[in-house]
């Protein structure tokens, strides 16, 4: 599975977790866990899997008014 994930990421740089798990015919949780493992092994850079959502701290920046998109590491 790990090698399949590596191969898929080698073919294309940008995936959603749903697309990748469908492509590999594996449950998303298993793929997420596998990506986390590849990161631990140093075969993928840290932060290779992230969850998109609104920034939780829009007032923490310069308060431009937009709650921007943000990503948090979701490999674990």
């Amino acid at each position: 599975m790990l090698r399949e994930i590596e191969a898929a990421l080698g073919r294309r740089g940008s995936w959603t977790l749903a697309e990748l798990s469908t492509s590999l015919d594996l449950p998303p949780e298993l793929v997420r866990s596998g990506i986390g493992h590849l990161m631990r092994l140093g075969r993928l850079p840290q932060g290779s899997l992230g969850q998109i959502g609104a920034c939780a701290e829009p007032r923490g920046c310069l308060s431009c008014g937009l709650a921007c998109g943000a990503m948090r590491d979701s490999a674990r």
């Binding site: 599975m1 790990l2 631990r40 850079p45 921007c68 674990r76």
Partner: protein, 694 residues
């Protein structure tokens, strides 16, 4: 009896531990580390009392982190009678890896299948008996928060602990046969012959194959340990690469010979892969999912909205509709504000005239404060509707999809996937967007994002664009003009990024996998509150700054006192700039002054234009004044230049901070100016060629 409790973080391990031990707990620190651990006792009515040791939460036992090392060392060196490994029944894919590693290390393992209630809520039915058969250890379903299954768990742990002579069973993981035959078995056999080996031979062989340094060091200290290591190295050097494994990655940290180190890294991957394959088999056999293969509404919608062709078409349609709504819905309200300000300006003029106020004060209020602040206030309805549209898209989950579509486009030009967060943030303000590039590990990726972010029009630039497009292109044409401008900024950004990638910042972007939130109906209350909050935040932040900027611009237009506006300091400066650059684009001196002052802060542009075009009479709306002073072609050309030219001072300073050198900041700002005027000139010439009035 001593029983260790292990598990991944956030699986309810502490809840289970507390439920079992109650108040009978002590906190201590592992020697030589900052890792805390807790011990607790379960008093027994019958038989031996049980001491529980809460090990640090870990995902694996490969000693990559201090917690993993502590857990592994406890299991290797500290006396214990059994291990309870707590797993989250709703996250088995992630949790079973540690179970497999524990089973290979120690013979008396009991699995606590915790959070069964959460698994059932998620539509999962876990067959603990089938799982137990595959793993070869007891599996006990529990809900620690309710105390369910704890009695059975402790009974299973006691039963396991009593089997003190139980030998370690062969690993249930189906490692490749050639690996077992050629490497694992001979190395384990050689290790088993060592007189003082304290670790299970099979497990030790697996660790050596993966290049575990700690284990190799411990082995080297044993009598005949060096010989066993040499034997392992020789086998590794002799054996070929496992099929399908990439041997190109260098890693010299695990063994003396680089070839052996490479091989060990590959083997680590093969071993982990085998464990995940086994986990997949366990899940197929012991977990039933309701609705697993049925596409839910989010999947169906994503099929369309993330489609390589239809997805971009839908994105264009959604954003066009959003901008159109912002223009159409806000126009009447903006008109009301303009009329109110005109009436207030007239009343103020009459009152000041009647009260005999000095000329400079009348000029300051009527030609400075009213037009300057009024220009910004008339923009508030556009901003409010724009924020509402943005919030609906964000809250519904669509904005994340749009980000992904933009990201795919960006990846084509070599911009790192994480760059799009910064790019989306840049539509709010370029400064935090530059800060957001820090999530990128590679300095070249970060630098590239820093250099192209200023091409994204920030909130303040969008405000000027909204007011001017609404004035010159009313209704749907305004929305189309806005979309066109933003598309142009993305095109320019793409070309500039590609230019940087092909010249001074070549790099292959790292892969990125994204998890998207589910779609849901936005809460109108949340949207309303967010819009109110953001509008207030915007106004309160710029208020004092705006007043001072307005006064400064007014002073430039007022002095030398008594002279007409065309002979003011502002006009002299503006005419010089027009002669230098502006004349090629049809820009008058007022537009050039607004461009110049916009460098200090883009928020001042509207007030500057308000003062410059509103001077010399009673208050008139900025939109009205601009449409009488400029042609649509000049206005559109101005917007193109304004959108792309040098970012504000704060952004340039932040570029220097992020890039670490003024030279990069200067390069970025210089590129912005050059590209802005070049594209502006192109737009103007195309307009003239099409027969538009200059």
């Amino acid at each position: 009896m001593r029983v260790a409790v292990a598990g991944n973080p956030n699986v309810g391990k502490t809840t289970l531990f507390n439920a079992l031990t109650g108040r009978h707990q002590e906190v201590a620190n592992w020697p030589g580390t900052t890792v805390d651990y807790v011990t607790g006792r379960i008093p027994a009515l019958v038989g031996e009392p049980l001491e529980l040791i809460d090990l640090p939460g870990t995902y694996a036992l490969e000693a990559y982190s201090q917690e993993e090392r502590v857990t592994r060392n406890f299991l290797l060196h500290e006396p214990h009678d059994a291990v309870i490994v707590v797993v989250d029944a709703s996250r088995l894919e992630r949790n079973l890896y540690l179970v497999l590693e524990l089973i290979e290390l120690t013979p008396r393992v009991v699995v606590a299948l915790n959070m069964m209630d959460a698994a059932e809520r998620d539509g999962l039915r876990v067959d603990s008996k089938a799982m137990s058969e595959l793993l070869g250890v007891p599996v006990v379903p529990t809900v620690a928060s309710r105390g369910t299954g704890l009695r059975q768990l402790i009974a299973a742990a006691r039963a396991a602990a009593r089997q003190r002579d139980l030998a370690l069973a062969p690993s249930p993981v189906p490692y490749p046969e050639e690996l077992r035959r050629d490497l694992i078995a001979p190395i384990a056999a050689r290790l088993a012959a060592l007189p003082s080996l304290a670790y299970p031979p099979d497990w030790t062989a697996l660790q050596l194959l993966q290049g575990e340094r700690d284990i190799a060091s411990a082995l080297a200290a044993l009598p005949q340990g060096q010989a066993a290591l040499a034997f392992t190295r020789a086998l590794l050097a002799r054996s070929g690469s496992p099929s399908g494994v990439d041997r190109s990655r260098p890693n010299a940290s695990l063994a003396a010979e680089p070839d052996v180190a490479d091989h060990q890294e590959e083997l680590g991957l093969v071993l982990a892969d085998s464990r995940y394959d086994f986990i997949a088999r366990i899940l197929r056999t012991s977990v039933r999912r309701r609705l697993r293969w049925r596409r839910d509404p989010t999947e169906r919608l994503d099929g369309l909205l993330l489609h390589p062709f239809w997805g971009y078409l839908c994105m264009a349609a959604i954003f066009s509709a959003g901008f159109w709504l912002a223009f159409v819905a806000s126009a009447p309200l903006s008109g009301h504000i303009d009329r109110l300000l005109v009436a207030m300006g007239g009343a103020a003029a009459r009152w000041l005239g009647g009260a005999g106020a000095p000329a400079f004060l009348r000029s300051l209020l009527l030609s400075g404060v009213f037009p300057g602040v009024g220009a910004v206030l008339s923009f508030v309805p556009y901003m409010a509707v724009f924020f509402a549209v943005y919030e609906v898209l964000q809250d519904s989950g669509y904005m994340a999809r749009a980000s992904l579509l933009v990201d795919r486009f960006m990846q084509l030009i070599g911009l790192h996937g994480k760059g799009f967060f910064a790019l989306v943030s840049a539509y709010g303000c370029n400064v935090p967007a530059l800060t957001a590039t820090r999530v990128m590990e590679n300095p070249r990726d970060r630098l590239l994002a820093n250099l192209v972010i200023p091409f994204i029009p920030c909130n303040a630039r969008l405000g000027v664009m909204a007011v001017m497009t609404a004035a010159f292109f009313p209704g749907a044409a305004g929305a189309a003009a806005m979309i066109g401008l933003i598309a142009l900024s993305l095109l320019v950004l793409t070309l500039v990024a590609a230019l940087y990638r092909r010249t001074i910042l070549p790099n292959e972007p790292a892969p990125l996998v994204l998890e998207l939130p589910r779609y849901h109906w936005p809460s109108w209350r949340t949207v309303a509150l967010a819009v109110w909050h953001r509008v207030w935040l915007f106004l309160s932040r710029i208020w004092w700054f705006l007043i001072w900027a307005t006064i400064a611009i007014w002073a430039l237009t007022y002095f030398p006192a008594g002279q007409p506006l065309d002979h003011s300091c502002a006009a002299l400066l503006g005419r010089w700039l027009t002669g230098l650059v502006g004349r090629h684009f049809g820009f008058d001196w007022r537009l050039m002054i607004a461009i110049l002052f916009g460098f200090v802060a883009k928020e001042t542009t509207l007030s500057t234009l308000g003062v410059l075009y509103g001077s010399g009479g009673g208050y008139v709306s900025l939109a009205h004044a601009l449409t009488h002073a400029l042609t649509p072609l000049v206005a559109f050309t101005y917007l193109v230049v304004y959108m792309l030219y040098v970012p504000c001072l704060s952004t340039v300073v932040q570029m220097r901070r992020e890039s670490g050198a003024w030279s990069w900041a200067a390069l970025g700002a210089g590129m912005n100016v050059a590209v802005a005027f070049a594209v502006g000139l192109l737009v103007e010439r195309v307009g003239l060629w099409l027969g538009l009035a200059p």
